[in-house]
C-alpha cells in the first residue's frame, strides 16, 4: 500500500499515457538512433573551444604562468575562480542523487542521471585547474604522500590545498562509483534492446552482466542508500574544504567562519542553476518533456530559491559582520561598502543583482513555472556565481592590508581561453554522454510510474469516486 499510495494532491511526475515499455523506448531512443545535424554542429563548436583551451593550457605550461594576468598581489584569479565555480556546479548532481534520495524525493528520479553526469564532467574541469595553475605542474605528484628517495620527504597535512587534493579525488571517485552503480540496470536495458552487435558488446561490458534478480535489486538498493549516506557528508565536506582554502587564511574577507556552509549553499545554488540550463534544453531536444515536467522545473526552482535565500542571508551576514567587526581592513572585502564603490564596483553589483535580486522573481509561481524565464534566471545565476567567486578571490586580494601592495587584475587571453576551453570540454563530454548513456534512470522512473504517473493517478481517482 505505502509504496503505491500517493496523496492525490501531489502532481504527477510522469505525464502522458506511459507504460513501462514506453519508458524504455523513450530513454533508449537517443542511444539507439542517430545524431542529427544540430548535435554535430554543437559538438563541433564545443570541440573547437576545447581544443583552443587545450592550446592555451599547453602554452601556459610550456611558457610559464606569467602568460596569465596574475601579479604579485593577486596570485589567484581566474584559475581558482573557475576551479571553485566548476566544483560548485558539480555539487548539485550529488545533491540530487544523494540528498534527495535520503529525503525520498521521487522527482529526483528523472533528473539524477544527468545531474550526476554533470557532476562528474564539472569535477573533471575543476580538477584541471589545481594542476595547471601550478608553476611546475610536472612536480604535481609531490602533493601525494608517497614514500620516496628524499629521506621519505612528506607532505604537510596542514594545508587546505592538500585537503583539496584528497577532497576532490575522493569526490570524483565516489561520484563515479555512485553514478555507475545506478547505470547498471540501464545499461542492461540498452544491451537487451539494441539490435547492433557492436552496441550489444559494449553495453554488455558496461552493464557488468546485470540480470536484475531480486537479490541483486535488494543489494543494489542498499548500496545506493549507503552511498547516498556517504555522499551527503562528502558533498558538504568537499566544498567546505574548498572554502577552507580561503577561510583558513588571514586575508580580510577570506577569513570568515561562515564560508563552509555558505560555499556549500552557493554550490547547490549554482549547481541547480546549471542543471536547469542543461535539462531545459535536453528535455526539448531528446523529447523527454513527459519525464522532466514543469513540476520538476518548479521543484528545482524552489531549491534554487531556498539556497539562494541561504546565500543571501550569508551575504547580509558577511556585510554586517564586516561592519560590526570594526576592523578597518574589512572595508575593502568583497562584500563591503568599499567594494560596492571601489574599482571593482561592477563585480560587486553583478554579484548582488545576479544572485540576490534576480532569483527573487522565482517567488512568483507563474515565473517559477515559466520555462523561458527559468532558463534566463538559471543563466544569470551561473554568471552571478562566477562573479561571487571572482569577487571573493580578486577583490579581497586586490586591497589587502598594505596599501603599497594594492593592485588590479587584468585577465589575458590565456586566462579567458582556458576557461572557454573547460566550458568546451564540459560540453564535449556532456554531448557525448547524451548520445551514449541513458539520460534518465529508467529503472528508477519505472518504480514510481504507478504511484506518480499521470495515467495511474487518473485511474486511481476515478476508481475511488
Amino acid at each position: 500500500m505505502s509504496s503505491h499510495y500517493e496523496a492525490p494532491i501531489r502532481e504527477p511526475l510522469i505525464l502522458g499515457e506511459k507504460s513501462y515499455h514506453d519508458i524504455s523506448v523513450d530513454v533508449g531512443a537517443p542511444i539507439l538512433g542517430k545524431a542529427n545535424k544540430s548535435w554535430w554542429i554543437v559538438f563541433s563548436i564545443a570541440l573547437i573551444a576545447f581544443l583552443w583551451g587545450l592550446g592555451c593550457i599547453v602554452y601556459t605550461v610550456t611558457t610559464g604562468i606569467g602568460v596569465w594576468g596574475l601579479n604579485k598581489t593577486i596570485g589567484w584569479a581566474w584559475d581558482i575562480t573557475n576551479f571553485v565555480w566548476w566544483v560548485g556546479i558539480g555539487h548539485a548532481g550529488t545533491l540530487i542523487s544523494a540528498v534527495l534520495l535520503l529525503f525520498r524525493q521521487k522527482w529526483r528520479m528523472a533528473i539524477n542521471r544527468s545531474a550526476e553526469a554533470m557532476t562528474i564532467f564539472a569535477v573533471v574541469q575543476a580538477g584541471l585547474f589545481p594542476i595547471i595553475h601550478m608553476g611546475r605542474p610536472w612536480l604535481a605528484y609531490w602533493v601525494l604522500p608517497i614514500p620516496n628517495q628524499f629521506g621519505s620527504l612528506w607532505v604537510n597535512f596542514n594545508s587546505p590545498l592538500l585537503w583539496d587534493v584528497f577532497a576532490i579525488s575522493t569526490y570524483l571517485s565516489v561520484s563515479l562509483v555512485f553514478w555507475w552503480t545506478g547505470l547498471l540496470p540501464d545499461f542492461a536495458m540498452i544491451r537487451d534492446r539494441t539490435k547492433s552487435p557492436f552496441q550489444q558488446k559494449i553495453y554488455g561490458i558496461l552493464s557488468f552482466g546485470w540480470s536484475g534478480r531480486a537479490k541483486d535489486w535488494q543489494r543494489f538498493e542498499e548500496v545506493s542508500l549507503v552511498l547516498a549516506g556517504l555522499a551527503t557528508p562528502l558533498v558538504l565536506s568537499v566544498h567546505t574544504i574548498v572554502s577552507f582554502d580561503f577561510a583558513t587564511s588571514v586575508v580580510p574577507g577570506w577569513h570568515s567562519t561562515i564560508f563552509p556552509p555558505y560555499f556549500v549553499a552557493g554550490a547547490i545554488f549554482s549547481g541547480f542553476a546549471m542543471v536547469q540550463t542543461l535539462l531545459l534544453v535536453m528535455r526539448k531536444v531528446v523529447n523527454l518533456e513527459n519525464y522532466i515536467t514543469i513540476v520538476h522545473i518548479e521543484f528545482m526552482n524552489k531549491v534554487i530559491l531556498l539556497t539562494g535565500g541561504i546565500v543571501t542571508v550569508a551575504y547580509l551576514t558577511e556585510y554586517f559582520i564586516g561592519w560590526y567587526s570594526g576592523v578597518p581592513y574589512e572595508n575593502y572585502t568583497y562584500l563591503s561598502f568599499g567594494a560596492a564603490t571601489g574599482p571593482y564596483w561592477w563585480a560587486f553589483w553583478a554579484l548582488i543583482i545576479c544572485n540576490l535580486i534576480v532569483p527573487l522573481t522565482l517567488w512568483v509561481k507563474k515565473w517559477r513555472r515559466n520555462i523561458v524565464w527559468t532558463f534566463i534566471v538559471a543563466l544569470i545565476i551561473n554568471i552571478g556565481m562566477w562573479f561571487e567567486r571572482f569577487d571573493i578571490i580578486v577583490i579581497c586580494l586586490s586591497k589587502d592590508r598594505l596599501a603599497s601592495s594594492w593592485s588590479m587584475f587584468q585577465p589575458t587571453f590565456v586566462d579567458i581561453g582556458v576557461f572557454v576551453g573547460t566550458i568546451g570540454f564540459f560540453f564535449v563530454l556532456f554531448l557525448l554522454y547524451a548520445r551514449t548513456f541513458p539520460v534518465i534512470a529508467q529503472a528508477e522512473v519505472k518504480s514510481i510510474l504507478k504511484s506518480s504517473g499521470a495515467r495511474y493517478k487518473r485511474i486511481r481517482e476515478s476508481g475511488e469516486d
Binding site: A7, L316, I321
Partner: protein
C-alpha cells in the same frame, strides 16, 4: 479527557518545583552576593577586560598572558568579580530559559519545514509538534524579559561609561544600542508567536474544513515564517549571544546556534512521541515515524558538529588574536565540558543512531535523545557562561534549579498544549500517506 488529565497531572507535578525553584533562585542569588568578594584570586576573563579597557587587539593579545596574573588587590577588578558573581543566577536562568524556548522554537521551525516541504510522513506528528510549540509563548516572553532585565549583567555595551571609553563599542553603537536592540527582540518574539498562532489555528480549522483553504494558508504562512526565521535567527544570535562579548565576532555564529536549536527540537519531538505512544495516545504512529525522527536526530547532530568544527577550526587555524580569545577562555576554564560536549553531541549519536534497527527501538531513541539534550544544554551553557560569569562557573543549585523550573514549566505548557485537542489530525491532504507510511 484522558489527555486532559495527563496534561493536568504533568502540570501538578511541575507546580511544586516552580515554587521551590523561585525561592531557591533567590536564595542562591543572595548567597552569591556574599561569596563574591572571596573569590578575588580568580582570573580575569575576556569580558572583564573588555569592561576595563578600550584597547583592541593589543589588549586581546595581552589577555592570554594576563590570565591568572591579574592584580588581586585591585579594587576595580574586585568590582568586576563581584559583577560576574551577581551575573551567575541571571546566566543560569537564561541558559535554562533559552534552552527550553529554543526547543519550542526549533519544533516550530521543523513543523514549518515539514509543512512547506509537503512531507508525506510527518502529518501524524503535527499535533505533537503543535503541542510542544505551546511553550513558545511563555518561553519566549520569559527569555525576552531575562535579556531585557539582565541588562549590563549580560551586555557590557549597555554600560554607558564603558562605551564612552571604548572606541570599538562606540563604532558598534549604531547596532548595539538599547532601543534598537529592544525593538528587534520584541519583533522576533511577536513574529514567531504570530506564526505559531496562525499555524495552529489553520491546522485546527483543517479538521472541519470542506476544502483545502486552511491547508493552503498554513503552507503559505510556513514559507513566510521560514524566510522570517532565517533572518531573525541570525540577528537574535547576534543580539542575545554574540553581543555578550561585544568585541568578538564570528560570521558562522548564528547558524551554529541554529544547529543546536533544530537538533534539540527534533530530539524532543521524538521523546514526546515515544512517551505519548507508550501511554497509548498515538496508536497511528509506527516505528517508521520514529525511525525518521531518529534519522533527523542523527543527521542534525552531525550537522551541528560540522558547524561547530567549522567555526572552531577556522578560528584556531588562523589564530587571529581578537578572535581566539573566545575559545581560549572556553578551553582554559571550561575544558572538560568544552570537549566533553563534542563526545556527547557527536560521538554518542553517531555510534548509537547509526544502526537502522536501533532507530526503531523506542527506549534506544529516548536514551540517545536524553544524551543529545544534555549535550545541547551544555552547548548553550558554554555560549552564555564564559561570556558572562567567566571563570566563576559551576553547576550548582542555581543552575539545577533553573533547569528544573523551566523543565516543569515546559512540561506543563506542552502537556496543556497536547491535552486540548485530539492528537489525531484530520483532513490534512498528506495524512493518509502519513498513516500508511512505512520505511
Amino acid at each position: 479527557m484522558v489527555l486532559g488529565l495527563i496534561g493536568l497531572v504533568f502540570g501538578f507535578l511541575s507546580v511544586p518545583t516552580t515554587v521551590e525553584e523561585a525561592s531557591e533562585i533567590l536564595a542562591s542569588h543572595e548567597e552569591h552576593h556574599g561569596s563574591g568578594e572571596e573569590a578575588s584570586h580568580e582570573e580575569a576573563n575576556f569580558v572583564d577586560e573588555v569592561r576595563q579597557e578600550h584597547g583592541y587587539s593589543e589588549h586581546a593579545m595581552a589577555q592570554d598572558k594576563d590570565l591568572g596574573h591579574d592584580a588581586h588587590e585591585d579594587g576595580e577588578h574586585m568590582e568586576h568579580v563581584l559583577h560576574q558573581m551577581q551575573t551567575k543566577p541571571w546566566s543560569a536562568a537564561f541558559v535554562a530559559a533559552f534552552f527550553f524556548m529554543m526547543i519550542a522554537l526549533g519544533t516550530l521551525v521543523f513543523y514549518a519545514i515539514q509543512t512547506a516541504a509537503q512531507a508525506g510522513w510527518s502529518p501524524v506528528l503535527f499535533r505533537v509538534m503543535e503541542g510542544i510549540t505551546n511553550y513558545l509563548l511563555p518561553g519566549s516572553v520569559i527569555v525576552l524579559l531575562i535579556v531585557i532585565f539582565a541588562g549590563e549583567h549580560f551586555y557590557p555595551w549597555q554600560n554607558h561609561e564603558l562605551v564612552a571609553e571604548d572606541a570599538i563599542l562606540q563604532e558598534k553603537s549604531g547596532y548595539l544600542n538599547f532601543p534598537f536592540w529592544l525593538i528587534r527582540g520584541i519583533t522576533y518574539v511577536i513574529g514567531w508567536n504570530l506564526y505559531r498562532h496562525f499555524a495552529r489555528k489553520n491546522s485546527l480549522a483543517m479538521d472541519h474544513a470542506e476544502d483545502l483553504k486552511p491547508y493552503k494558508n498554513l503552507f503559505r504562512y510556513s514559507v513566510y515564517f521560514l524566510a522570517f526565521f532565517i533572518v531573525t535567527e541570525s540577528t537574535m544570535a547576534w543580539d542575545w549571544f554574540m553581543s555578550m562579548t561585544p568585541h568578538w565576532y564570528s560570521t558562522l555564529f548564528a547558524w551554529y546556534i541554529f544547529a543546536s536549536i533544530i537538533v534539540s527540537a527534533v530530539t524532543v519531538i521524538a521523546i514526546v512521541t515515544v512517551s505519548l505512544k507508550a501511554i497509548g495516545k498515538l496508536d497511528f504512529v509506527n516505528d517508521s515515524h520514529l525511525h525518521d525522527l531518529a534519522k533527523f536526530m542523527f543527521g542534525f547532530s552531525v550537522f551541528w558538529t560540522y558547524l561547530w568544527f567549522g567555526q572552531f577550526m577556522l578560528i584556531w587555524y588562523a589564530n587571529i588574536p581578537e578572535e581566539v580569545t573566545y575559545f581560549i577562555l572556553r578551553i582554559q576554564e571550561y575544558n572538560p565540558i568544552f570537549f566533553g560536549m563534542i563526545i556527547i553531541n557527536f560521538v554518542f549519536p553517531i555510534v548509537i543512531l547509526m544502526n537502522s534497527d536501533f532507530k526503531r527501538v523506542s527506549w534506544f531513541v529516548v536514551i540517545a535523545g536524553v544524551i543529545i539534550l544534555v549535550g545541547h544544554y551544555i552547548d548553550i551553557f558554554l555560549l552564555v557562561m564564559p561570556s558572562t560569569v567567566g571563570p566563576y562557573w559551576s553547576f550548582g543549585i542555581t543552575e539545577f534549579a533553573a533547569l528544573l523550573f523551566f523543565l516543569g514549566l515546559f512540561i506543563l505548557m506542552v502537556g496543556m498544549g497536547l491535552a486540548k485537542v485530539s492528537l489525531r489530525p484530520k483532513n490534512n491532504p498528506f495524512l493518509v500517506e502519513s498513516e500508511h507510511f512505512h520505511y
